[in-house]
């Protein structure tokens, strides 16, 4: 069983569209994260939720809106996609008492 899963794995879309990426973890963790990895492999944190509460909200355009329906899920909705949004988006989870994060396989988003 996959510990942290993301869907879709690949997403190709036109500029201006709205898209969502879903993340689920079956590790019983209470903290989840979204990261963006650009073409130079720089990994930047975007958001983090702990027990469905937003605890980290980096300087991210408000076109990006995370949503955590429960502790096991953290989705990312992106409005009005731009070329610069093209990247690999990683979901991760951890237990709030631990520093170790478990990453999903990533979603490669390509905006044309």
């Amino acid at each position: 069983d996959t510990a942290v899963s993301q869907t879709p794995k690949y997403l190709v879309t036109q500029m201006g569209n709205d898209k969502s990426i879903k993340c689920e973890q079956n590790l019983g963790h209470d903290t989840m994260y979204w990261y963006k990895q650009d073409s130079k492999k720089f990994l930047k944190i975007m958001f983090s939720y702990n027990n469905k509460e937003l605890i980290i909200n980096e300087t991210v355009p408000n076109r990006f809106s995370p949503k955590s329906p429960d502790k096991a899920h953290l989705n990312l909705h992106i409005n009005s996609l731009e070329l610069g949004d093209s990247a690999v988006y990683f979901c991760a989870s951890s237990h709030s008492g631990s520093n170790t994060q478990y990453f999903g396989p990533g979603t490669r988003l390509t905006v044309l």
Binding site: K40, F42, I45
Partner: protein, 112 residues
């Protein structure tokens, strides 16, 4: 500003040789972690070293931490082709949240 920066950016060695990667950071930390990312995959946690520790071992991995120089090194001994991956250091921002800043990584290639 970016917290962790790895050096070198890329490293190519022969199987059996040792590989050393360095990480420098800018502000005080509680702990530092090293992660591995295989091509097209998510990051995998390797080892964590706390600010009051100077050295830590895990199998063929040896991590050192020098808080006075704000630097850490990851040594992989007797490298194998399967060690080919990107290696990232991640530092906590000492803010009470589980926010980690990742560097841009060292791309290691182990030639068989």
């Amino acid at each position: 500003s970016q917290q962790g920066e790895e050096d070198p950016q890329a490293l190519s060695i022969q199987e059996g040789e040792n590989a050393t990667m360095n990480c420098s950071y800018k502000t005080s930390i509680n702990n530092l972690q090293w992660y591995r990312q295989n091509s097209g995959r998510g990051l995998v946690h390797l080892i964590l070293i706390r600010s009051n520790e100077r050295e830590k071992h895990s199998g063929r991995l040896r991590v050192t931490l020098d808080t006075s120089k704000k630097s850490s090194s990851l040594l992989i001994t007797a490298s194998r082709a399967a060690d080919t991956a990107s290696y990232f250091c991640a530092t906590d921002v000492n803010s009470g949240t589980y926010k980690y800043i990742f560097g841009t990584g060292t791309r290691l290639k182990v030639l068989a």
